[in-house]
Subunit: 200 residues, 2 copies
């Protein structure tokens, strides 16, 4: 089975259980001639794929009333891959979605690492630092780097842990966030598990 998850920056493929990425601006989807199942949040790419008959849009097969209208299809499909847990998808935004007994309960959106770094920098040049993911989140900070790192990370951690459910980490920054969600399972191909459920 050939699968593709298309975001704002890349095509993420899964073929024969191997995944790889292509840049959204340089890759031409017409070069793929096989049958391929996809989901896509990129409006520009969506238009191109509509004319390619071997590209099959899995979003058509989602029973939307279990979710909400403006919810990203990537969040929906990732939720389908989980029976009980909190899914933390850490990318340009961090989406946090809770699934209980296979049912989507709700979720929220938090800024991703690069967005939040820019936010602090724009507030004050004195806050222009990379985040410290190795920070001890049990101790209140007494320096500027840790004060913003704690502000970004501890607040998210407190909320996510409060659900007392298994945590599944996915998305481009999953490995880095594993440092603050030490018991989480990292599954970078979570979305493909959800997509497979839709192909039947």
């Amino acid at each position: 089975m050939f699968l593709c998850d298309i975001g704002n920056t890349s095509y993420h493929f899964l073929k024969d259980e191997k995944d790889y990425k292509e840049d959204v601006n340089s890759f031409d989807p017409a070069q793929i001639k096989e049958k391929i199942y996809y989901i896509c949040v990129n409006q520009k790419v969506k238009k191109i794929l509509k004319d390619l008959s071997n590209w099959i849009d899995l979003s058509q097969k989602i029973y939307m009333s279990s979710y909400y209208e403006t919810m990203g299809v990537d969040r929906i499909v990732a939720s389908m891959a989980v029976t009980d847990g909190v899914i933390v998808d850490a990318g340009s935004a961090i989406t946090v979605d809770v699934v209980k007994d296979g049912k989507f309960i709700g979720g929220f959106i938090y800024p991703g690492k690069n967005s939040m770094r820019k936010t602090y920098k724009d507030i004050s040049s004195a806050l222009n630092y990379e985040f410290n993911f190795d920070l001890d989140l049990k101790t209140l900070p007494k320096n500027s780097v840790d004060a913003i790192s704690y502000g970004f990370l501890k607040t998210l951690q407190s909320e996510v842990l409060s659900h007392n459910m298994p945590i599944i980490l996915t998305g481009g920054d999953a490995k880095e966030f594993k440092k603050i969600f030490v018991d989480a399972k990292v599954d970078e191909n979570l979305i493909f598990s959800g997509m497979k459920k839709l192909t039947f």
Copy 2:
């Protein structure tokens, strides 16, 4: 006693227990001839005040080893006004500082309302909303406005409440944040209480 707390956007005065503000770009501090105690985080204004002998810089009287070098003087002085509690100063940034038995324990910095609104908008035009402060933070959202409002507010709330201490709200957005910290005491002149302690 005449007091002034100078930030990046305004002079905040307290005279005869009444407070008022002046714009930092249009107000001329030389027009004040009386003795006035101030703190200032605005580098440009700081330079002007150095040449005005009736303007007395209270930051000189702070015993810095109880705090940390790059900590804003406004956070330090607000901390001095509290014996036990979490101070949430909601302005262009939100600073959260914990004081126990009159001792500063540590604190963190979170983006303010306007900064965070811009952050979400820049991630995606689909997230270009005003925050909903009336949101029920006990329920996980199922729409976009609430998904970002929860992301901004619930994460902060979870962390602040975890300290199990009295909460003191101050800063320009204090009243709005009272909606999510319902048991908090709002004290918009907290910083002046701290400044008074330094004048003796």
